[in-house]
């Protein structure tokens, strides 16, 4: 990679790491959500670096625009403020287990990645948007239709779950 690309990668990586720490560590769930948003934006920046701008826009649209707003509404149910549900410090055993859970895949996978790197291009491939649309409509039309069915069913299921009958 060239120097500007490395700088940009470093910046996005920093955003992701700081966002992850906020999302996992903050006692206030609102701050955790802000950390999640920062992480998602960092990943969107990495998509831009990977020469996939469409993925970056989808990331911002779907994750930041839809999922995070949804989670924010659900936060109104939790006591999300700094002395709310997550405020009392987690038991030491639990924090230890959390660190262990984070370290385990790192300890298993990172050495494999470092020792046996896959042959990698220096310049990412470029995919025109029209090509993506064509593949979605021709080769992968079944997954495309299935995912819309899954979304429809999950939305209907969500409405059904929280439906309140009037006669109760």
């Amino acid at each position: 990679m060239e120097t500007p690309a490395i700088l940009a990668f470093g910046f996005y990586f920093l955003v992701i790491v700081v966002g992850c720490f906020m999302a996992v560590g903050c006692a206030s769930l609102v701050r955790a959500l802000v950390g999640l948003v920062a992480t998602l934006l960092g990943v969107a920046g990495m998509y831009l670096l990977l020469n996939a701008p469409f993925m970056a826009f989808m990331q911002i649209l779907i994750y930041v625009g839809a999922i995070c707003v949804l989670i924010f509404f659900a936060l109104m149910l939790a006591r999300a403020d700094a002395d709310g549900d997550e405020a009392d410090p987690a038991p030491a055993a639990r924090t230890f287990k959390g660190v262990l859970a984070a370290m385990l895949p790192g300890a298993l996978l990172a050495p494999i990645l470092m020792l046996h790197p896959t042959a990698s291009k220096m310049i990412p491939a470029e995919v025109p948007l029209a090509e993506l649309g064509r593949r979605l409509m021709e080769d992968y039309v079944l997954p495309f239709e299935l995912i819309s069915m899954v979304l429809l069913i999950s939305m209907a299921g969500a409405v059904l779950l929280v439906w309140e009958r009037r006669d109760k």
Binding site: F13, L33, I147
Partner: protein, 104 residues
């Protein structure tokens, strides 16, 4: 280091943070945030692996779009479940959700 390894390490960070959050958080919403972190790491890993090798790059992007769609569906259902749990138990703390256990 090769570029692909750098991106894969970034997605590994996301996976680790997600797992840690899943274990450490004590509310359902906090756990959902951790799951979203992990799904995002998966997406980044897929796109990096196909953009930077000879693999079919369009297929990788479409696969990640699929992951995003599934994440949206999962978030919808999970949040509806959280609403139901809140109505029933009055809280979304995970240690309160134990109806099989003898009630104190």
């Amino acid at each position: 280091m090769k570029p692909l390894v750098l991106y894969q390490l970034a997605s590994l960070v996301l996976l680790g943070a997600g797992l840690a959050g899943l274990v450490k958080r004590r509310t359902l919403v906090g756990m959902l945030i951790a799951v979203e972190l992990m799904l995002n790491g998966a997406g980044l890993s897929i796109v990096a692996a196909t953009q930077l090798t000879g693999a079919d790059a369009a297929l990788g992007q479409l696969a990640t779009l699929l992951v995003m769609g599934l994440a949206a569906a999962e978030a919808t259902v999970a949040l509806a479940a959280i609403v139901v749990v809140f109505r029933r138990f009055g809280t979304t703390r995970t240690d309160a959700l134990a109806t099989l256990r003898e009630q104190q």
